[in-house]
């Protein structure tokens, strides 16, 4: 009884009222608490940190808000970009420039409807006045081509590397063959300077008919992208069709095989193409998932606040509604931890916060935080 009383009192006094514990879980000998930080929003597609006290997040419906971690209050920002919100399109990922404190730039990926017809993946940036809660003028730094009237497979996470180059994924928009064609942005990872200029050491500069923004190709719908500051590696995670979701180590100019090689099958159950899983000149994934988990985000947790997560890939799963952990070491054969299944929510984005804790967003419009310990 004394223990229960203590437990009850700690529930009342230990946490700010706005950070609401919703789950505890125990993995091995370690205990963790999942706290709900905000709710009642649309699908929260992208989450990023402006600083240790302020989150900025996108909703697929086109809104961008900040979440003050000291008060728990969200603030709707002004002067938002115009996006095409239909199907899988809308306002997608968000990233804060590594030198945000000096230049105030925020980047988003979004579905853009073109006056010439169809819609496509675009990247825009604007300066954010945090005090005013308002953006200045949005400027497209990249618009993928060609555009299609389909409503799916836009990609697209944004990361910066240590040199300030920006990388993001463009989905193949349901046009699988374009993933292998270098004259289309679809099914590619793109690398640019932070203002949209094209680096002259990109791999297909000078290749006839190839688009110079391309960094790697043969991707399907990349919705996880992570730059590992510890190793300098760029990791990507993409949706396969029926099975065949992949984690890839993305390297300059390489071909990741879709739709020629894949561990997935068509939604009908038939084989994709010739049913090949390997071919010379095409990269094997570090890991593939059969059946699909439908991964929507990826980090490699390098913190030490959450022992269970350290040196593991952490990805949000949409279809199988969980947070997926798999060790980076021997990843192809490593076991998995599947967490947060009790939430029954599609996990959309995952970030490691400046505090070393893990933050996840869901399609149900919530942001959660995972910390070690118990109630």
């Amino acid at each position: 009884m004394k223990n229960l009383l203590f437990l009850g009192l700690s529930l009342i006094f230990t946490f700010p009222t706005w950070a609401q514990p919703v789950m505890q879980f125990k993995a091995g000998d370690d205990n963790y608490v999942v706290e709900k930080l905000t709710e009642g929003h649309g699908t929260i597609w992208g989450v990023e940190f402006i600083n240790s006290d302020l989150i900025i997040f996108t909703e697929k419906n086109g809104r961008i808000q900040t979440l003050d971690l000291k008060t728990g209050l969200a603030r709707l920002l002004k002067n938002l970009p115009t996006v095409y919100n239909a199907g899988q399109g809308g306002l997608l990922d968000i990233a804060v420039h590594p030198e945000f404190a000096q230049n105030s730039f925020v980047y988003v990926t979004y579905a853009k409807k073109l006056t010439t017809g169809g819609q496509t993946t675009a990247v825009a940036r604007a300066r954010l006045d945090v005090n005013e809660g308002s953006f200045d003028k949005w400027e497209d730094i990249f618009v993928a081509r060609p555009a299609f009237s389909t409503a799916h497979h836009y990609g697209s996470r944004i990361v910066f590397d240590k040199d300030g180059y920006i990388y993001f994924g463009v989905g193949e928009r349901g046009q699988a063959d374009l993933s292998q064609k270098l004259n289309a942005h679809n099914g590619k990872i793109i690398r640019l300077f932070d203002d949209g200029r094209i680096p002259q050491d990109n791999p297909f500069i000078g290749t006839p008919e190839a688009l110079p923004e391309i960094w790697s190709y043969g991707h399907r719908n990349p919705q996880g992208l992570f730059y590992d500051k510890k190793t300098g590696n760029l990791y990507e995670q993409e949706h396969g069709p029926k099975g065949g979701d992949e984690i890839n180590l993305v390297e300059k100019g390489k071909n990741y095989g879709w739709p020629v090689i894949t561990y997935g099958r068509e939604y009908s159950g038939g084989q994709v193409g010739r049913g090949e899983t390997a071919r010379p000149g095409m990269e094997q994934p570090l890991k593939y998932f059969v059946p699909s988990i439908a991964p929507s985000s990826l980090i490699l947790y390098r913190g030490n606040k959450l022992k269970l997560f350290t040196d593991k890939f952490v990805s949000g799963a949409l279809a199988l509604q969980h947070l997926n952990l798999v060790a980076v070491k021997d990843v192809a054969t490593a076991c998995e931890d599947r967490l947060l299944m009790g939430l029954n929510e599609r996990i959309r984005d995952v970030k490691q916060g400046p505090d070393g804790l893990v933050y996840v967003s869901s399609d149900n419009g919530r942001i959660y935080r995972i910390r070690a310990g118990s109630l």
Partner: protein
């Protein structure tokens, strides 16, 4: 390999802010994977507000209804209108001549608000408390 995943919920004292239920489940077909270790999840639910014990005034509506269900979009001067942490701003959405027809009540009861947020039994109690407050004249 099927991994038994236990979702255990512990009942706490009535005085606590959280109350819980116990359930146990197995993963559905197709969730086969090689698990590193058993994971035991414990769901925690906030203890329902006892609306019957609350006086029907703006502070109680703000602290128990708006704060739990509306604050993320409607608190603060830059929020979507109405600014629900401000009594005067909230009153602009209450029709004192026809309380039942107030926009504040209509938008909630017709399901327009909150968006993407289906009402649960708990939030229905909040709506009932909001209704009672409005119909009594939306007092400060």
């Amino acid at each position: 390999m099927f991994i038994l995943r236990l979702t255990v919920m512990i009942c706490l004292l009535a005085a606590c802010t959280h109350a819980v239920v116990v359930s146990e489940r197995e993963p559905a077909e197709g969730l086969e994977y090689r698990s590193c270790q058993p994971v035991v999840e414990t769901m925690i639910q906030v203890r329902a507000v006892d609306y019957n014990s609350l006086e029907k005034n703006f502070k109680n509506v703000k602290d128990n209804v708006f704060k739990n269900h509306c604050a993320s979009c409607h608190f603060g001067p830059d929020a979507y209108k109405p600014q629900l942490d401000d009594y005067t701003a909230t009153l602009e959405y209450v029709d004192l001549n026809s309380l039942e027809e107030s926009r504040l009540l209509q938008s909630v009861e017709k399901g327009t608000m909150p968006p993407s947020y289906p009402l649960t039994n708990r939030s229905r109690e909040a709506v009932a408390f909001l209704r009672a407050w409005v119909l009594e004249g939306a007092n400060r």
